[in-house]
Symmetry: C5
């Protein structure tokens, strides 16, 4: 079974998360024996991503999209990020397909380029694996249910409930 | 009459609320003589829940979904929670079916893991009962109308209006 | 002409606004000679109201819904109220029918149970009359247009414009 | 060519902006030789306006709606205004017709009834002219493009770009 | 291949960004050998833009829209900008076509008219080029993916990820 994955990213981001996503999806897919076809689409900024995802899921018939973007430092940028996410959720609900959002906020790195790079790298790679498992191995996610997984930083501790 | 319930949860949450929900629905359903079939679907984080609920309600023909997630500590996490809830309401309005949201905010526990566990446990169990009653015994909820019920903490006092 | 009114309310609210609404609609309708049929539906909290209204307006073919809920004290509760209202507006736009929202914020009463009761009582009764007039006597509202009407507190002063 | 304009307003507003809009549309339309038919609909508050606009644009086949409302002083009122505007934009996108929103925030007048009256008066009249031009003379708006027009206060200065 | 571009702008903006966009699209299109047809539509303010874009994309069958507006200084204006952007994203998701938003916030210029003009000029021109490339040369954007491009100010530094 071949699954088609859309990768949408931006010229605004301060690192080529889209390119890293394509590389990761292909390499990790190959390692696990999962056939993946990729369509990439680069747009200016995060607010252009929802329609890009819609296009890939509908016109290109992708089975899932990964949408990578950076949210700038100012309060007005945070609002743009919120609008983009709201749009991405609308696209998902409308198409019935996942859009795995990999958004990095510049503020998360508190001014360090090294940390910014680290967050972008880890969050991209870990969410690519999530995306592949949603398509090829849903049980893998259920096994990690409620275990405090984080993408782009250390996992959180978790509490036994029953 | 068998009713099909979708349970959606996340790998992000710091406790297996999804597993507890499945257990509670089956046990409580059995005790009350209500036949319940369950479909579970685990996704990475709360923003992935709306489309998961849509999939279960539409593709899997579930009659109702319970959607369990944790909202992190930072302001940006609160925004994610808001986006997820907005999406869940859109899914409900579109499908005409309930999505009972069991969201726990890390901040509610003010840093105590014990309290966090308590809130997750109680809110999950109490909302599972709400969900079952919405499907099998709507009158039960009407009897509690306007009585200050809380899930995950003590009930509030209430005021006689007429 | 019989008009069918849906009444949706919650177990969360700290007073039986739903019951008071049913009573008021029937009594006031009778006094004015308007035939009213009522369908009531109680759900856990305000975020469950939009789909409940959708169900009554669509499945039960109600002509209008009154949706009564309480918004808790914390900032996170205010967000829930906002999500519920956004959903209720979406339901209205979709169905082309009114959902008269009777939401009371716990904070409005500044800690006084007596005041909380007063607000719930007045807002419920006054909005029931608004709802009946929207169905049976639209001219009545036009006569009060721009006169600073408030539900649950004293009316505001108004300014002559022309 | 006769164009049908819907006028929606509220009983909450502290001035009869709806009545002033009807008067202005008829008088200004007559002066310019534009045939206008008007349907008015008064609802309780701003959150009831989106569906009222939907009804007029769809059921009454109005070509455009003007929607006049007042947003109260408290933060919770600002949220209501935001919900109403979001709904009005949804109605426009859905119907493909304009809803010209004339919202006055009580806070704009900083407590002065005289100033409140002035803002309501000017904003209503100027937006009625905008609405008429959108229907009968689109070129008029293009001539004012980017010139810092304000409704309800003095225009802003503008900058030559090319 | 001729592509049709919609240009929507406002009378509220303090500079004729719409006119500059038309000029830039035609000149830059000519230079690159791309055939462009333009439809312009001026409305009062940013909240009127979503439906204007919808009209041009649907009724006028434009392939893409550029939507230029200014967001005023007050907090209430920022909310209007947010509502407009949310609407523009909804229009895109619904039509499956891009709406390239060129919004300038008065506050960005910190009171300087010269700086305000600069931002309006650069952001308009750079986004017109983005828009043309989305229609005629998608590869150009992919080559700039993740390179920290900014419209209306200096580009940001970027980080090598792989």
């Amino acid at each position: 079974m071949i699954r088609k994955i859309g990768v949408t990213d931006t010229t605004f981001a301060r690192g080529d998360m889209g390119g890293l996503a394509v590389k990761t999806l292909l390499e990790h897919g190959k390692k696990r024996g999962w056939s993946v076809e990729i369509v990439r689409y680069t747009v200016p900024g995060v607010k252009d991503l929802p329609v890009a995802n819609k296009m890939l899921l509908t016109n290109e018939k992708c089975d899932l999209a990964i949408s990578l973007g950076m949210v700038g430092r100012e309060p007005v940028d945070a609002v743009c990020g919120h609008e983009a996410s709201t749009g991405n959720i609308a696209v998902q609900v409308q198409t019935g397909k996942h859009v795995i959002e990999v958004f990095v906020h510049e503020n998360e790195a508190r001014g360090s380029e090294e940390k910014l790079g680290q967050i972008m790298r880890h969050r991209t790679v870990e969410h690519c694996i999530n995306a592949l498992e949603l398509l090829f191995d849903k049980q893998a996610l259920e096994k990690r249910a409620g275990t405090g997984k984080r993408q782009g930083g250390p996992d959180a501790s978790f509490v036994k409930l029953y």
